[in-house]
Symmetry: C3
Subunit: 137 residues, 3 copies
């Protein structure tokens, strides 16, 4: 399965929980793991309490770890200005595995799955969802 | 499977390796992957050499990346004072996948699986363990 | 499956994409997930655009997050001087899951899988690759 998301880039944080849940229901999966992976080297997937405060705190922390306007060797070589995005994506990674039981994602009440698009332009992002089944014994 | 851990919060680091290994043995899994996932938005799972020095170094680094007493938009909105915990959890992620062979976790001798509870109060944490089987060819 | 890599340590970044792809082809896997895990507490796996600029930017960021010459409690206890390596490995984690379709890793054109060996000496590293199959419905 794949799910596509249109983003504005520039560190936009998208709550993809309901889209992932919908894909799982369509696959008729009961018990196992949902493997999520975003294609590309300037995006990442993680979880957070999806409320404006926590999201703003995450963005600010990433601004400190990898400032958008710092000097990057990637930018000097390629001139595309998204060196910060490559760095953030490598640190946060493109993958996440979430358990599924009775067809539902196992998440905390205040725990959502987010896609962060670090690139410096709007993008259409593809998240691949692969369902694998739990061993039953 | 699920395993519960009582923590004191405040960045307590718990070595969960033996509890995970025990769950795998009980499931009678031979070859595959153990998927670990901690429910909630203020905890994370990773690996480390579980000795006091390395654990202290990790805590100090997280204190620098996301200080407990910094100003967080999450705290300003919700007043619960655990903005640092949400940030740390989003950066470190709640999931980990560890290979299993012959019913044993494949880890280095000095590589343990840890649960870190960042929240600012004692919590009971649930780690879901899902076993998936390797393709044999 | 396991693949071995000889590294020089000292944060060497190795593009392991083609080795992982080769192992998948040998396993005759069609659709599922490739689970990667590096044994040891001083190495990590992630993805990046594998070009010298982005790799240099990642190394520099890690030098800031966990300087090689800072004071580490791990070093004071064990005297082996690789406290920075333990810290970096715990932050970046040893695992990565990548989707596989029609026997091929699903990655972006400029997205490669890298092994980073943080240790302060040459090492032979073992990456375990476990293939699990997607549910087909």
């Amino acid at each position: 399965m794949e799910v596509k998301f249109s983003t504005q880039g520039f560190n936009e944080v998208v709550d993809i929980t309901s889209a992932v849940q919908k894909a799982i229901l369509e696959s008729d999966t009961k018990d196992g793991v949902a493997h999520l992976f975003v294609i590309g080297s300037t995006a990442a997937i993680t979880t957070i309490e999806y409320e404006p405060g926590a999201v703003a705190d995450l963005k600010r922390a990433l601004d400190q770890i990898a400032p958008m306007d710092a000097v990057y060797a990637h930018n000097e070589a390629w001139g595309d200005g998204n060196g910060y995005a490559h760095l953030r994506a490598a640190l946060l990674k493109p993958d996440l595995c979430v358990p599924v039981r009775d067809g539902k994602l196992l998440l905390g009440t205040w725990q959502q799955i987010i896609l962060i698009d670090f690139d410096n332009r709007p993008r259409q992002r593809t998240v691949f969802i692969t369902m694998t089944e739990a061993i039953r014994r």
